[in-house]
């Protein structure tokens, strides 16, 4: 029992886990960027109720929200190569695992971020748009100069929650063989026979970074409030 958890082993393993943090960050960063890009399209499709695409996106979002992430990961990992092979006759089975992992997270993010963006745009009062029209601006000009900047501010808290959720959600990537923080924790722990040490190490890393992210977003939010004042009507 004495040997259950050892601080010195934890300290030895810690740098190895930290080194794998870059893989975790890579997944998060690319998934968020691609997710934002696609999410904007999804938000536009849903807001303007573009026929057919709107229905497709509604189903897509229900699927992404209604199925466990692990299933989405496996579907992309095993399904995407089959799909690509059947459609284009190209074998992508040998591609880097990370490619499939990041694709899965990005597709998931697109759905969630799309809804966050849409909700934030709809939360900007109609009067703001009307005021834009009354000064002679077009819908597009009003959107760019008035509605979208306000929507970004409205979206910050949800975006922050989503980002931290994604960060923690990457802990499933090891199931497909990613050597991110968790993957590394498993490997190092299995080799030494003391898995608990390395998982506690991983927990510390996740807590610190999550708290840090929360703190940064809180600062951004506060700064916005100081500069703009709280967004009221």
């Amino acid at each position: 029992m004495n040997d259950f958890l050892s601080v010195s082993r934890m300290i030895t393993a810690f740098p190895k886990l930290l080194a794998s943090l870059s893989v975790t960050f890579e997944i998060v960063a690319i998934a968020i960027l691609v997710g934002l890009f696609l999410g904007i399209f999804i938000a536009i499709i849903r807001m303007f109720r573009i026929p057919v695409l709107n229905q497709v996106m509604t189903v897509y979002i229900s699927f992404m929200r209604g199925t466990p992430l692990i299933i989405q990961l496996y579907l992309v990992y095993y399904g995407l190569p089959m799909l690509v092979y059947n459609l284009f006759g190209v074998d992508i089975n040998g591609w880097n695992k990370l490619f499939f992992i990041i694709t899965a997270y990005a597709l998931n993010e697109a759905a969630f971020l799309g809804e966050i963006i849409r909700g934030a745009i709809l939360a900007v009062p109609e009067l703001q748009t009307e005021a834009g029209y009354s000064t002679g601006m077009t819908y597009f000009q009003t959107f760019i100069h008035v509605v979208f900047p306000q929507a970004i501010r409205i979206a910050i808290p949800s975006f922050s929650t989503d980002l931290i959720g994604l960060f923690q959600g990457t802990s499933l990537a090891f199931l497909l063989g990613a050597v991110d923080v968790i993957g590394k924790a498993r490997i190092v722990g299995n080799n030494s026979g003391h898995v608990l040490d390395t998982y506690v190490d991983a927990a510390i890393i996740f807590i610190v970074i999550s708290v840090l992210l929360e703190f940064i977003f809180h600062k951004i939010q506060k700064r916005g409030d100081v500069v703009y004042g709280k967004l009221q009507n």
Partner: protein
Amino acid sequence: MLSLAHIKKSFGKTEVLKDVSLSIKKGEVVVILGPSGSGKTTLLRCVDFLEKADSGTMTISGTTVDLHRAKRSEILDVRKKVAFVFQCYGLFRNKTALGNVALGLTVSRKMPKEEALKKSKEMLDWVMLSDKYDSYPSQLSGGQQQRVGIARAAVLNPDIILFDEPTSALDPELIGETLQVIKRVAKTGITMVVVTHEMQFAKEIASQVIFMEDGYIVEEGTADEVFSSPKESRTKQFLSRVLPPEYNL
């Protein structure tokens, strides 16, 4: 300058404007009076295409448009001639006072930024907000916000400015300063339509008064005519409720 012919507008089953026609000459200040719910706001909104009328036409500065079937380009054209001052100010929350006034100039009028800022500052000085250029709406009192709203409308040099109850969202002690600024705008000779419940103010600035009730224009005339000797009994009733007793209608 502005004439409206047979405007009708319903929301669902409620007929809000039943057949409104009116004509305003250049430089006139028209005050619209009427009980709440009579359709005053809806009428102004239809003029600026913030609401789409069910039928009716409008002629503004020589151009005639169908209020129901106007094309996008026609709507944009009308909106460049019309400015609107909202009851609840409607300032852009992400812009400073200066940004609020300048945005229309730079974006819709394509004015170079330097020039737009210079004009906007002059306009803010003119509404007595020289010290508030960089304040965001949330940092301004209601009266100050509404003065920014007026500056934002006036800076565009429109053919006509529509004011929808510009002081009714304000605390009583802030109404005076705002009315003063509106009077100043009126003195420049710009054509204005003002919906208000401030009777003293209405009397002072109106060249024409329109009394609306239940989606119709019930009576119109000069300020003197309508205030001192209203012809219609409904106008009389309304005025006797809102005017001080010495009018003795």
